[in-house]
């Protein structure tokens, strides 16, 4: 039982990170109908932003403090939001009236560009970096159940961000505009919605969440490198498809399910070697059995 609970917490913590990244994929898909394959790299840049920000923050706040950690998180999210907006502006906006395939291929190009630029020795370098401890590295022991404070932070932060996201999307003017654009872009434009600013906002919001995911991931796994976003990003993409691409609660749910499945599979002898393949097996199954995803609605073209 203890082992089960332990794995449950591990799985939820991993799933929460997938969920944060998956939300960005699904939001961008909602307004632009394309998959931003560079999104996983924004996650990586979030982790590196934290890596470089932490010593700066430690100059005026005590090292390994919750306030300092929170500040690093917020700053890294802001940097990633800005990067997301810039990537959209430079790479995707000029292609707005081009076929979606052009934009998709460009996204792959942007992704490779970021990954290999960051591996250059004058940027981050290809070798893994040890991520600093942002908060005191302690564990809590409940009758043999050992939970890292890091894991609790991951779950709490994700929960707060999900609530904040829901508020933004459902209650604010910009959120309303986002939903309108995702239902019907020309109609939203005719209501007076500025499409370009909605798209920029969406990229900013999604990238901030990916940046948060990057920090939380680095806090738990300690080692970061410029290619860390490749596999995690792809898995988060699978999570978004699993939940139903374009559907926000679906992305969160898909992330949690994927995190749990991977973690539990990792605990089964003989299966554990295949844990990284599970996401892609799920992708194939979902595409075969329920292409719209768990919460997505299949759309029927009205003639």
């Amino acid at each position: 039982m203890t082992e089960f609970l332990q794995q449950l917490i591990n799985g939820l913590a991993l799933g929460a990170i997938y969920a944060l990244i998956a939300l960005g994929y699904t939001m961008v898909y909602g307004v632009l109908r394309f998959i931003n394959f560079a999104h996983g790299d924004v996650f990586m840049l979030g982790a590196f932003a934290g890596y470089y920000l932490s010593p700066v923050v430690n100059k005026f706040l005590p090292a390994q403090s919750y306030v300092g950690g929170a500040l690093v998180l917020v700053l890294a999210m802001a940097i990633c939001a800005l990067l997301g907006v810039v990537i959209e502006f430079l790479a995707y906006r000029p292609l707005r009236s081009r076929p979606k395939l052009t934009v998709l291929i460009t996204a792959i190009g942007v992704s490779l560009f970021i990954e290999y630029t960051c591996q250059h020795k004058s940027v981050f370098g290809a070798a893994p970096h040890k991520f600093p401890d942002l908060i005191p590295a302690t564990t809590i022991n409940f009758n043999g159940l050992v939970i890292g404070v890091n894991q609790i932070i991951v779950l709490v932060t994700t929960a707060v961000l999900l609530v904040a996201l829901r508020f933004i999307v459902q209650k604010t003017r910009m959120g309303t505009a986002m939903r309108a654009v995702s239902f019907n872009e020309p109609a939203a434009a005719l209501m007076g919605v500025n499409i370009n600013s909605v798209i920029s906002f969406t990229f900013g919001l999604g990238s901030a969440l990916a940046g948060a995911g990057g920090i939380l991931f680095a806090m738990n796994y300690a080692s970061i490198d410029p290619l860390m976003g490749v596999q995690t990003g792809l898995k988060a993409f699978v999570a978004a498809v699993l939940g139903g691409i374009g559907n926000l609660p679906g992305a969160a749910l898909g992330g949690l399910i994927l995190g749990l499945l991977e973690t539990f599979a990792g605990g089964i002898p003989g299966v554990s070697n295949y844990r990284d393949g599970i996401a892609f097996a799920i992708l194939i199954l979902i595409l075969l059995l329920k292409p719209a995803g768990l919460l997505g609605k299949s759309t029927v073209e009205k003639v």
């Binding site: 505009a177 209501m191 007076g192 919605v193 499409i195």
Partner: protein
């Protein structure tokens, strides 16, 4: 109020509008009739900014608005009820109307406009909380018009409001168009395939054929025109 000069719009290599000119007097209803593919919808989409013109001017209130993005054009008081209505099918009737008032920041004004729309279309009031996608075709058309009115327009463009509606509903919709024009003093540019009705309610009309304006005149005289009669009024 609105003057179009030599407007040319193309889809790739094909010119959908080949340099049309037309004008709409303040407070009037002007209609643009023509068959499928003549360029009627293209004209409205270009005025509202959904399409960018290749050449020509669109003068509204003394300023050239050609090529501006749609949200700026709505902000100047031009509202477009698009072909096929394009309501937000997943939102409720009320939410659709609130979307129409996206640029209106004053809550009091939004409430006042909402009351006006409900007074014009009592059916929408009855269906306030219903999901818009479940409305009948006629109700959806009322919602599309009501939503356009929520932005407090001075100039309203209607694209085929009678499309796919039963004759009785067509009559109601046209009555409402006249009512909105009279009571609000709203200038209306009406695009229609139902030329008979359109020429009945309008003051002036233009006939569009494959991207050119081939005829124009008082709606009353157009109805008597033998060419118009044979081509658009069923003999």
């Amino acid at each position: 109020m609105l003057q179009i000069k030599n407007l040319t719009v193309s889809y790739g290599a094909i010119n959908a509008l080949k340099g049309i000119s037309l004008s709409v007097q303040s407070g009037s209803i002007v209609t643009l009739i023509g068959s499928n593919g003549a360029g009627k919808t293209t004209t409205l989409k270009t005025i509202s900014g959904l399409l960018k013109p290749k050449a020509g001017e669109i003068i509204y209130d003394g300023k050239n608005i050609a090529g501006l993005p749609p949200h700026e054009i709505v902000g100047r008081g031009l509202s477009h009820v698009p072909e096929g209505r394009m309501i937000f099918a997943n939102l409720t009737v009320l939410e659709n109307l609130q979307m129409g008032a996206y640029l209106v920041r004053d809550k009091k004004v939004v409430r006042r406009e909402l009351e006006f729309v409900f007074a014009t279309f009592p059916r929408l009031k009855e269906r306030e909380q219903q999901i818009a996608g479940t409305l009948s075709g006629g109700e959806q058309q009322m919602l599309a018009i009501g939503r356009a009115l929520m932005s407090q327009p001075k100039f309203l463009m209607l694209d085929e409001p009678s499309l796919g509606l039963a004759p009785l509903l067509v009559k109601t919709i046209f009555e409402k168009i006249v009512e909105i024009n009279c009571e609000r003093g709203l200038t209306i540019l009406l695009v229609e395939q139902n030329a008979n009705r359109a020429l009945e309610v309008s003051r002036f009309g233009y006939v569009l054929e494959t991207g050119n304006i081939t005829l124009q005149g008082d709606s009353a005289s157009l109805r008597q025109n033998p060419q118009v009669k044979s081509a658009y009024l069923g003999g």
